[in-house]
């Protein structure tokens, strides 16, 4: 009985740890961060296109999310995470890690610059979007396999 209980507990522990491990896979972590950045770009895009009215709080949240996510993003490319889980990461990342980190940091600092002089209307949100979008393109050009 005792042995059975122990083994059940061990199994539960293993299972729990296994689940936590799956959610913590670097590929999943970095994909989630990209989704957050993409979602925030979408919020800004809706305002820039005039589909949603300008709203200072929405803009601030979106740009802050982009800054924080971009800063954290390059921390999720450890050795061994080059492939798997549908990753679109290019092998070039691991050959040029310093440049890759610099490009992610540029998005973060550009987002901080936008926050420092907050866009006040549709047009200035559009300008901010162009700046941040150029950073997306520059990094995706070098380091993302998906076109």
């Amino acid at each position: 009985m005792n042995l059975k209980r122990v083994s059940t507990a061990v199994m539960a522990l293993c299972l729990g740890a296994g689940m936590a491990f799956a959610a913590g896979e670097p590929q999943a972590e970095r994909q989630a961060l990209m989704k957050k950045i993409g979602g925030s770009m979408g919020e800004l895009g809706a305002i820039a296109k005039g589909q949603k009215p300008y709203d200072a709080a929405t803009v601030k949240t979106a740009v802050s999310t982009i800054s924080a996510s971009a800063k954290d993003f390059p921390n999720h490319f450890p050795a061994g995470s080059e492939t798997g889980m549908d990753t679109a990461a290019s092998p070039a990342i691991w050959q040029n890690m310093a440049d890759f980190k610099a490009k992610a940091m540029k998005l973060s600092t550009d987002a901080d610059t936008v926050l420092a002089s907050m866009p006040t209307d549709q047009a200035s949100v559009g300008q901010a979007l162009q700046t941040l979008g150029a950073d997306c393109g520059t990094c995706h050009q070098a380091y993302r396999l998906k076109r």
Partner: protein
């Protein structure tokens, strides 16, 4: 007996010579006659610039990562590693020695639309003349006029470094016989003027099919899979299907496609990636009406 052997040998020799003559006739470089390039008006430089961006000249002929005005120095020199060897991109700046400053319109036009160099030699199809072949003489003249306004560079590019037998330009005659065509890539049912403009841009100067259409083992386009995507010829990853059957952009509207080409943003604000980033930046210089035409054409081609 000896005389029969001699006759047979003679007959054999005649067949070989005749065969070689036919093969040469079919595969020799075939520039347009001089009158094809005669009688054109002074070049329209604004149209020439549009074609310069549509053709994406800078993506190969300018220095890698060139920005702003540096993009207009078409000094060549970039290396393009392929399965056939390494191509070194030539200098097409107006420098009369290192570039194409001393070329005539006919020389430039035959390179662009017939894949024939100024010495009458076959050019390698890494230069996408099998797309540019669709360009009108007027557009070629306008582009040539525009290129002459750009800065000259004295950079002398290395010769190509290709493996046998691809290093023999004579083999390109056979390649052209098999794969070169100036005909439309797809038959469209009663296309509108805007779709026709899109067809011209995509199949001609834009040379979209050179990457977005899969190739066979000899490097010829599989035209029955027009724009259906395939393995990336330049390395890892895949080039997406851009027909209406595409899993990535099939659901996009014409407006979404035109907006992507202008801004680099997908409808859900993802960005372009890989070599498409440069292509998109080049295309962003086109008039919006041309981007709308490209979008209309991409919606009109057969779904794959």
């Amino acid at each position: 007996m000896a005389s029969i052997t001699a006759k047979l040998a003679l007959a054999g020799a005649i067949v070989v010579v005749a065969g070689a003559a036919v093969a040469y006739g079919l595969t020799r470089p075939q520039p347009y006659p001089a009158e094809h390039w005669a009688g054109l008006a002074a070049p329209d430089l604004a149209n020439g610039e549009t074609l310069f961006w549509a053709g994406g000249c800078v993506s190969c002929h300018a220095q890698k990562d060139a920005k702003g005005e540096e993009q207009k120095v078409l000094s060549g020199g970039r290396a393009l590693p392929t399965a056939f060897g390494t191509f070194h991109v030539p200098n097409i700046s107006p420098d009369p020695k290192a570039g194409i400053g001393a070329w005539t319109l006919a020389e430039f036009g035959n390179a662009m639309t017939r894949g024939v160099g100024p010495e009458g030699e076959h050019l390698y199809p890494s230069f996408p003349y099998s797309s540019y072949a669709r360009m009108t003489p007027k557009d070629v003249n306008d582009l040539f006029g525009y290129l002459k306004t750009l800065p000259a560079s004295p950079n002398v590019a290395s010769p190509h470094d290709l493996s046998f037998p691809f290093n023999l330009r004579v083999t390109l005659g056979g390649w052209k016989l098999l794969f070169f065509s100036a005909e439309p890539r797809v038959a469209l049912n009663a296309p509108s003027e805007i779709v026709k403009r899109g067809q011209y841009l995509v199949e001609g100067p834009g040379h979209c099919g050179e990457c977005h259409t899969p190739r066979n083992a000899l490097g010829g386009l599989q035209t029955d899979q027009w724009l259906a995507g395939g393995p990336n010829p330049e390395g890892e990853g895949r080039i997406p299907d851009i027909t209406p059957g595409s899993q990535t952009i099939g659901s996009w509207s014409e407006g979404d496609i035109a907006n992507y080409l202008e801004t680099g943003f997908t409808p859900d604000f993802d960005s372009a990636g890989g070599s498409m980033v440069e292509v998109q930046q080049n295309l962003s210089h086109l008039p919006k009406s041309d981007l709308a035409a490209i979008a209309a054409y991409l919606k009109a081609v057969p779904a794959r």
